[in-house]
Symmetry: C2
Subunit: 324 residues, 2 copies
């Protein structure tokens, strides 16, 4: 825990130290608010841990690490607006606390701020870092686009779902790790292995999210259980349940999805038992483990002493076996 806590302190201090032009508080207050509300700071943690695999001096990686965290929080800000989500991390979202136009414009400024921080990478690595960051940022937009398109589609094949969460969630973890490796002076091959580690862990992380939404402990989870079910969200669980069920059960599930008047409790209960009985829950857990192990395998192949990898392995396990 000690290493993680020390790094998180560095990260939070660097976030507090971001310099904003003083002339337009109306533009920057929502950014400061978004960044102060917290979160696990997983992405900058991954960057700094990755750098420290290759060098003891993590300072040059701090600004880009923070840039990646700012970008992540920007995507949450705009996604919450697009999804009309009212609460994030137990606090009102920006478009609720201010308004939609503020959320749009502050988000835009936040994206520029992210680039500004990422562009403070050491000049010898700048081109490689910024190109990777742009590629990743565009992929995240594509992921969000697919996620939105899925809402109005009846059937989403499993492969498309996995590709969506890869783009929307996993690539940024890969990018965070690879940026850290590049700045640490890693060989290309090792930087790529760390990207793969992050990408696979990211896929597992998102499947865990799908599971927690149904099976999480409400006391620990921090948000209400069953949100995805009530929103008819096409999660891995739902897609797999439809795939594994008989034609008759399929009709029943599709009927439930179309019901307009329903008791929330009953609907959650219905789908939970569908996920249990169809084998979807097991499949989801299995798939999660698979990606987790693929990630660990890539990490093992990184050409440095095994002891140095301990912190990253630990963080990956924490993400995988987390309860919130």
């Amino acid at each position: 825990m000690e290493v993680q806590n020390r790094l998180i302190e560095i990260i939070n201090n660097a976030i507090k130290d971001i310099s904003y032009p003083s002339v337009a508080p109306g533009l920057f207050d929502p950014i400061k608010y978004t960044l102060s509300v917290g979160g696990k700071r997983i992405r900058p943690l991954l960057t700094l841990m990755s750098t420290s695999l290759f060098t003891e001096d993590i300072n040059p990686a701090i600004s880009p690490a923070i840039g990646i965290e700012v970008f992540h929080n920007f995507t949450l800000l705009h996604d919450d607006l697009m999804d009309n989500a009212l609460i994030r991390r137990k606090q009102p979202t920006v478009h609720v606390k201010w308004d939609a136009n503020t959320a749009i414009l502050s988000g835009d400024a936040m994206q520029i701020l992210a680039y500004k921080l990422v562009a403070a990478s050491p000049s010898e690595h700048l081109k490689q870092v910024i190109d990777l960051f742009s590629k990743t940022a565009l992929e995240i937009c594509e992921g969000q686009q697919f996620d939105m398109e899925f809402e109005s589609r009846e059937d989403v094949p499993e492969g498309e779902y996995i590709e969506m969460i890869r783009l929307k969630t996993a690539v940024l973890l890969g990018c965070a790790l690879k940026v850290g490796a590049i700045i640490g002076g890693a060989e290309n091959k090792d930087a790529d292995l760390l990207y793969t580690f992050g990408e696979k862990i990211g896929l597992a992380f998102q499947l865990k999210d799908d599971l927690l939404d149904v099976y999480g402990d409400p006391k620990v989870f921090g948000k209400n259980i069953g949100g995805d079910i009530l929103n008819n969200k096409k999660t891995f669980l739902l897609i797999k349940a439809l795939e594994l069920s008989s034609e008759k059960d399929n009709r029943q599930i599709r009927g439930k999805l179309k019901e307009v008047n329903f008791s929330a409790e009953e609907k959650i209960e219905f789908f939970t038992s569908v996920y249990n009985n169809s084998g979807a829950k097991n499949e989801c857990g299995k798939r999660m483990e698979e990606y987790f192990n693929m990630g660990l395998k890539a990490l093992k192949r990184v050409n440095i002493e095994t002891e140095k990898k301990y912190e990253l392995e630990k963080l990956a396990s924490q993400l995988m076996y987390r309860e919130s």
Copy 2:
């Protein structure tokens, strides 16, 4: 005209050649649409003309020039959404043709695309170019923030108005020129002078816009005359008219601004005669000329042969004496 046309052809071809990932057409179609609708391509023109002051090889400047144009069009896309503007360049805006969420997300992707193109600057200039671009992009957000805040304010002092249009419009012209100069290998002093040239021309350009909205020829202008008046927009003309009018006239003007039921024709007529009689029109024209001349003076001081500056001078004059 020949040089301009040749450069505009290069610009439009480069815009057509932008490569988009093929996987998410729903994300990229609105971007292609926005870029195909046209516009005068002033910013990339300025970049390429600026580069060609210092070198014959303008190729390394093409990608960043296009990046600046993409960024400009991104700001229009999001601004139109925030202002709920329905038409841009005689075509439906993105949030009308698609929807608000598409406008948000495609705009976000467009901003990333802009950075991707700007980051294709020659590596020896990358750091300087990207830092200038980020600084400018943040300033443009600040300008838009001020513009939105002005809507709900009774009095906007002239100085604040000028600062708003400097941020919202002028700095990007300065940036376009300076980026071109940097890539052309200019001395810092000359690059800064070209920035000043662009900034001052940009201020004059925006004041011309204020004038055209009232005094433009509807047949040439391309949009309806009096739009700013009908929207109670705090333009230089309105601010100056309030400043120059007697207390009695002031009360009458403020009364007109608050009227809810009015004939559009009458309101436009009223304000046009206020601008004529108060001297606001003259003041606006005078100020425009002042900035124009300040810009030309900066250009004159750039340390290269006078003949080479001819194309930039001509473009500046066209912008100043344009009818649309």
